[in-house]
């Protein structure tokens, strides 16, 4: 049962990633694109965890931790740069 549900949820997350890509390409302003990039990071974390559940190994979890940390830092750095031209005030 879990394997079938995993396939279904991987399909759902792929659809969510495509919707984020649509907003990334389309967003009429810059904060729209930064928000779409942040949501891409978060959905990629979920996809990596699902792949780890499917393959039964724990190495994808380490990659998910790295993407979580770096994604948050990138969003903060992009927003602060766009706001003030300066990352550390």
């Amino acid at each position: 049962m879990i394997q079938t549900t995993l396939l279904l949820v991987i399909g759902l997350l792929a659809m969510a990633l495509l919707l984020n890509l649509f907003r990334l390409l389309r967003g009429p302003s810059l904060p729209d694109r930064i928000l779409a990039l942040d949501t891409l990071y978060v959905n990629t974390i979920a996809l990596l965890i699902l792949d780890g559940m499917r393959a039964g190994s724990t190495i994808q979890f380490e990659a998910a931790v790295i993407i979580a940390m770096l994604g948050f830092v990138s969003t903060v750095v992009l927003s602060k740069y766009v706001l003030r031209r300066d990352i550390i005030e």
């Binding site: 549900t5 759902l12 969510a16 907003r23 729209d32 965890i49 979580a68 927003s79």
Partner: protein, 111 residues
């Protein structure tokens, strides 16, 4: 198959489905709504909840069918819950500074 295994399987599958549906709803809101400040709601609330649900399902599967209870996935969940509001706050500040025309109107005084 014992009852406990069946209950664990059903619980993990239900949490996975719930998390996936919430992630799709959050991204659908991001893609569809009309204004930046309306679009900010989906990813911060719905996507964070959805990914948290998927992570808790992974933790349950590890506890029931794998090596035992490990709280590592809880680490990512707590990290996401802490950092999603900070990202949303900074993005809202950036949007308010860059495009003054999109700001929502202040509340009126109905005297």
């Amino acid at each position: 198959m014992s009852t406990l295994t069946l209950v664990a399987e059903v619980l993990v599958s239900a949490l996975l489905l719930l998390g996936g549906v919430f992630a799709v709803i959050g991204s659908w809101g991001l893609a569809k709504l009309g204004n930046f400040f309306k679009r900010l709601h989906g990813p911060t609330k719905a996507t964070t909840l959805g990914v948290g649900g998927i992570l808790i399902a992974s933790m349950l599967q590890q506890a029931a069918f794998g090596d035992g209870l490990s709280l590592r996935e809880l680490l990512i969940t707590v990290f996401l819950f802490l950092t999603a509001p900070v990202s949303a706050h900074l993005l809202a500040k950036a949007a308010m500074a860059l495009e003054p025309g999109v700001r929502p109107a202040p509340p009126r005084h109905d005297d």
